[in-house]
Symmetry: C3
Subunit: 294 residues, 3 copies
């Protein structure tokens, strides 16, 4: 099949109208490697749950070692690629050294990740009558899965590594429909039930023992400022012991939800709520006061 005409057309267009990369080193972080980093971290946090081989409660030391070696190699390479955005594609060797430091900090953070995720696991079990046991939550609950990936990504976000943290949470978003920006600050015992459609913005702050349902947005009131708003708090602050039911939207960087607050389904909140309040949308039948026969 002669396709010369189309090869010329497309190749010329690629040259005449390039999509300019943000640096010219031609080394981009890869979604496939990101997935590997997530899998390996999960296996280290939950030994014996996800690996290819059936293992004892805590794995063998040899296995843990091999997992850490592969994780180190994969993650440090991806971090080095990410750092090229800061150094404008230059300093490959220098970036490798820096990536080595960051990767080791990530490994050091794993025991803390395990500790925090155990509180989230407990919150998912006690908060859901449909949960059969803890193992079920670990192997199949999307909320717990997305929170785990967010917590890994947040460690890298705190180190200011470009692209990687968001690529990790977007992987979780694809798998679960839960979109937690890696910049968000989230306390312990966090639970997301069902989760599809949840959006938690970059500058949101969430306390301990918070439970949110599918379709909840912790978002910005407006993003008209675009890139100028980059370092402003644009998303709400949520206190401790707060429950937010399905489809509620809480918007704005000045919106603060107190402790022990319950926000009902589909509520639309743009002002602060003080401690111990309950905010509920009126049901449709009450609001309309009448219903129509067909």
């Amino acid at each position: 099949m002669k396709l010369t005409k189309y090869v010329d057309l497309i190749y010329d267009d690629q040259h005449l109208h390039p999509i300019n990369k943000d640096h010219c080193s031609c080394r981009l972080p890869s979604n496939r490697e990101i997935k590997k980093i997530i899998s390996l971290t999960k296996e280290l946090i939950f030994p014996g749950y996800f690996g290819k081989y059936i293992t004892k409660e805590t794995g063998s030391k040899g296995q843990t070692k091999r997992q850490i070696q592969i994780l180190y190699k994969t993650l440090s390479k991806q971090i080095a690629y990410g750092l090229l955005y800061i150094t404008d594609g230059k300093g490959v060797e220098e970036n490798k050294k820096q990536a080595d430091i960051y990767t080791k900090l990530y490994l050091e953070a794993i025991p803390l990740l395990r500790e925090t995720l155990k509180t989230d696991l407990e919150a998912h079990f006690t908060g859901d009558p449909a949960a059969y046991n803890h193992d079920q939550i670990i192997v199949s609950y999307p909320g717990f899965y997305a929170i785990g990936i967010y917590r890994m990504a947040h460690v890298l976000y705190e180190m200011n590594i470009p692209l990687l943290p968001r690529m990790m949470t977007e992987f979780a978003h694809r798998e679960t429909g839960i979109d937690i920006n890696p910049g968000a600050t989230i306390g312990q015992y966090f639970m997301i039930d069902h989760g599809t459609g949840v959006v938690i913005g970059e500058t949101a702050k969430i306390g301990n023992h918070v439970k949110i349902y599918q379709g909840v947005t912790l978002g910005a009131l407006t993003t008209k400022g675009g890139q100028n708003l980059k370092n402003v708090q644009r998303h709400p602050t949520i206190g401790d012991n707060v429950t937010i039911y399905a489809g509620a939207s809480i918007l704005g960087g000045n919106t603060s939800i107190g402790n022990n607050v319950t926000i009902g389904s589909n509520a639309f909140i743009t002002e602060s709520i003080s401690d111990n309040k309950r905010v509920t949308e009126k049901s449709t039948e009450t609001k309309n006061q009448l219903m129509y026969h067909i």
Copy 2:
């Protein structure tokens, strides 16, 4: 690369702070095998649609046999792993015998699954002006796909097999954004259009000829009782010939929706609705009575 320090740190943490499995046999059901079970069941229900090889309308008997053999082997092993949660990790041989019985009951249920899914297929075709033909629905409609997996999982849920049914519907949830708990009871001619964000709870009951759209929740009014609510009806009952438009929430185990009811987009329902009613949210422009110029 010397990583001894990190291997020690993480391995010690795995031992000092284990995440205790719910039984100690080290045999967990696997998401990869669950996916295989779903694929094989789909190929048996829709011969010639999904297999690797192009096949005649109904496949050859040899092919059907091979598919059943692999399905039997895969499913009985996973069921046996699931049963370990009931027997606290003991009785591996006894569980294998029990798993054999359950697997055969599952195989026997396949003709009934086919019959029911044909009614769902018809509902998707007649209910959607955008549907080109039936084949398009089978190969690409997420609602039909999620309903198929729910119906398979429900067969195993009825046998009280731990973990597997939910792992199956969570696979569908990941693929489609549609979260149907395998415990729900759903009649024939069921249709879900678009589907992202749909949540149908464990104790929901749905009649025949029901059509629901994206973002609909059939949920619990409160789950504050947590694990104590395990066997209580927490989710609504929906009659026959009911249509529920996008984003509506119907909550509570005492909430019952009659036959021939239409629930409008974004409605928020917490009380029962009698037969033949139409419940609609007022549109935003009517409710606000005025609009603001920028």
Copy 3:
């Protein structure tokens, strides 16, 4: 393991109650091949971003040629399978010739796709304070990803090729939770933020510089007419410079949104809105006028 009883049961059922394919050629378009078509088109549009090998800014001509050859072969075969629905399973050779013409038209459209997607890329960058740079959007933003696949699919939709366009957008739907029907007409500089739960119907028309958020529905007011409504405009028309915030529903083929309009979160719109208006839902606390202590 003797499974003869179950093989007979299921095989007989497959024959006695066949699920009739819409044509009898036993050649169906395949989701796996659809995925390959999307990947190859993406690599041609964004050279060096997604390929297996690290490449220069615009790739080598040899690489572009190989990508085009594989794309040609894969796509023309799938189009030929799709055309069998028009020719009722007959005319395989004739369909191959027709598929060749369509595939070449698709290749010719790639430079235009690149040009349009560059406007969408710009809209995503300027519209999102959380965007680090353009590369991040290309490799990880779900809205940009789904729009790209929609634009590819729309090219094939315009050629009236059965099944393939919808299979492409349903692939995007599975990955992102964003469901754009390939029939929709969408202008330049289009942005979808977060995106989970977005539904854009087959006959929707969208202008330039439109920005929509997660959970927005541009849907039909009713689909009770089913297949009879196939060629009627059932979905709204949106002007230029319109922003639609999270969870808003705009329904109906006669509903037209003017230029420079802002639609607030969770708004429910079923009537036309004139230019320069801002329509917002009252916040829950204002609407209820009081809040209850627990």
